[in-house]
């Protein structure tokens, strides 16, 4: 794990357009990490204290089910942000996450970022708006999946 240069961080799609001084603030609370394939980022129910900005690889969000392999809810890759649960109480992960292949990411320290945002409102606003945009995009994609567009006309049994 390495401390991150602000210039590297500003290249991530999630932070595009953010003021360089705000990025520099964030860089102080960010580490560059390399996650091997199979690495477990977090488990459902555990305390949520980080988020990750992925730069390469693939992470699967899952939900454990008794007697069966975990169900994969969604996969995320380069350019995506993982982890919203650190933002608000009860600060607990709602899903689990595993790197399904070697993955590189920027890991943000939740409490440290929270303190920075309290002290620097502009950074807080910028980060919050980006988190919101990512969540909305995820929500819209999920709604589309719920529509089950590829089902036979008139609905159909799960294939």
């Amino acid at each position: 794990m390495n401390a991150v240069a602000a210039s590297l961080l500003s290249g991530h799609a999630f932070l595009r357009g953010m003021h360089p001084s705000d990025v520099a603030l964030l860089a102080d609370a960010t580490l560059a990490v390399e996650l091997p394939a199979g690495h477990r980022l977090f488990d459902e129910g555990a305390p949520a204290a980080n988020c990750w900005l992925l730069t390469a690889g693939q992470v699967a969000l899952d939900l454990p089910v008794p007697g069966r392999p975990s169900l994969i809810v969604e996969t995320l890759g380069s350019g995506d942000v993982i982890g919203f649960s650190w933002l608000s109480p009860p600060h607990e992960w709602q899903f689990g996450a595993t790197a399904v292949e070697p993955t590189r990411a920027f890991e943000l320290d939740g409490p440290a970022v929270q303190a920075l945002c309290d002290e620097h409102p502009r950074l807080g606003y910028q980060l919050a708006m980006r988190m919101l945009a990512a969540a909305v995009s995820r929500l819209q994609a999920t709604r589309i999946r719920l529509l089950d567009l590829y089902a036979p006309p008139g609905g159909g049994a799960a294939g």
Binding site: Q58, A60, R68, P69, L71, I72, V73, E74, T75, L76, G77, S78, G79, V100, A141, I144, R145, L147, D148, L149, Y150, A151, P152, P153, G154, G156, A158, G159
Partner: protein
């Protein structure tokens, strides 16, 4: 050709089940074959005594006729149940083709949703057969679940032939190690060059609208996106009036239409 054109007789040479409700038929002419066909075009397939439906051709141009049919009603059920040796009727080929060769020197991108991969397969196979003509060939596939992936056994061959193939499912089942999410999420994953891409999109109309919109947001000009549109069809030869979408008669001006032309039509409800 007019609506009074008699169906040509074709025999089922082979039948392969793609999924629990989708079948690919390889057809051979009993008498004279129908005219040469292009990927993107469709035929009217007749199941004796039941009826006729428009089905996109799912193989490349050539002597045989490959058609992939999803069983959703009486006629398609009859066609899906046709066994080897059975004779069905064929009229066509009708409509506009994908024009995949227009991507020569550039990136050919194919985005398929569900059964929409079938009308695109012919264009993809034609492109792979002339691989040097294109820079990248990218295939983005969205399926309902891993069990409902059509042509699943061919993806490896497509990769070996020089295509980047990314697959995502709306809902994963146990053992699925690939992407899970909507097909538009693959656009970023594939790192498409929006200035260099000709994108062919096929699937349910909602999926095509959302995919085209996502491509435009990614920077692809609407004129470089082609969609395959569908409306009620009866005659297939621009005589019955059913397949109208605004000024377009989809059996003649489609089914493949530039998104630049289709976008304003798709945005009017109940057009």
């Amino acid at each position: 050709m007019t609506a009074a054109t008699l169906p040509a007789r074709y025999r089922v040479a082979s039948r392969a089940a793609e999924t629990h409700d989708t079948v690919t038929l390889v057809l051979e002419p009993v008498d004279q074959p129908i005219g040469p066909h292009l990927p993107g075009q469709f035929t009217m397939l007749y199941a004796f005594g039941i009826g006729e439906v428009p089905i996109s051709i799912s193989g490349p141009a050539g002597p045989g006729l490959v058609q992939t049919i999803r069983s959703v009603g009486a006629v398609t059920r009859g066609l899906c149940e046709a066994g080897a040796g059975q004779v069905i009727g064929v009229r066509g080929p009708y409509g506009t083709g994908w024009g995949e060769a227009d991507a020569a020197g550039r990136d050919l991108v194919v985005v398929a949703g569900g059964i929409g991969l079938a009308p695109l397969r012919g264009a993809l196979l034609a492109a792979l057969a002339a691989r040097e003509r294109y820079r990248r060939i990218v295939v983005l596939i969205g399926a309902r679940s891993p069990d409902e992936l059509v042509f699943a056994g061919e993806l490896q061959a497509w990769r070996a032939g020089g295509a980047d193939v990314l697959v995502t499912v709306d809902r994963a089942t146990a053992g699925w190690a690939g992407h899970v999410g909507v097909v538009t999420q693959l656009i970023g994953r594939a790192q498409l060059d929006p200035a260099a891409a000709l994108v062919l999109v096929c699937g349910p109309e909602v999926m095509m609208r959302l995919t085209a919109r996502a491509l435009c947001e990614h920077g692809v000009p609407p004129g470089n996106i082609r969609v395959s549109l569908e409306r009620n069809m009866r005659c297939g030869v621009a005589e019955c009036g059913h397949c109208q979408l605004g000024p377009l008669l989809l059996c003649r001006d489609g089914p493949v239409v530039s998104y630049a032309r289709a976008a304003p039509l798709l945005s009017v409800q109940e057009l």
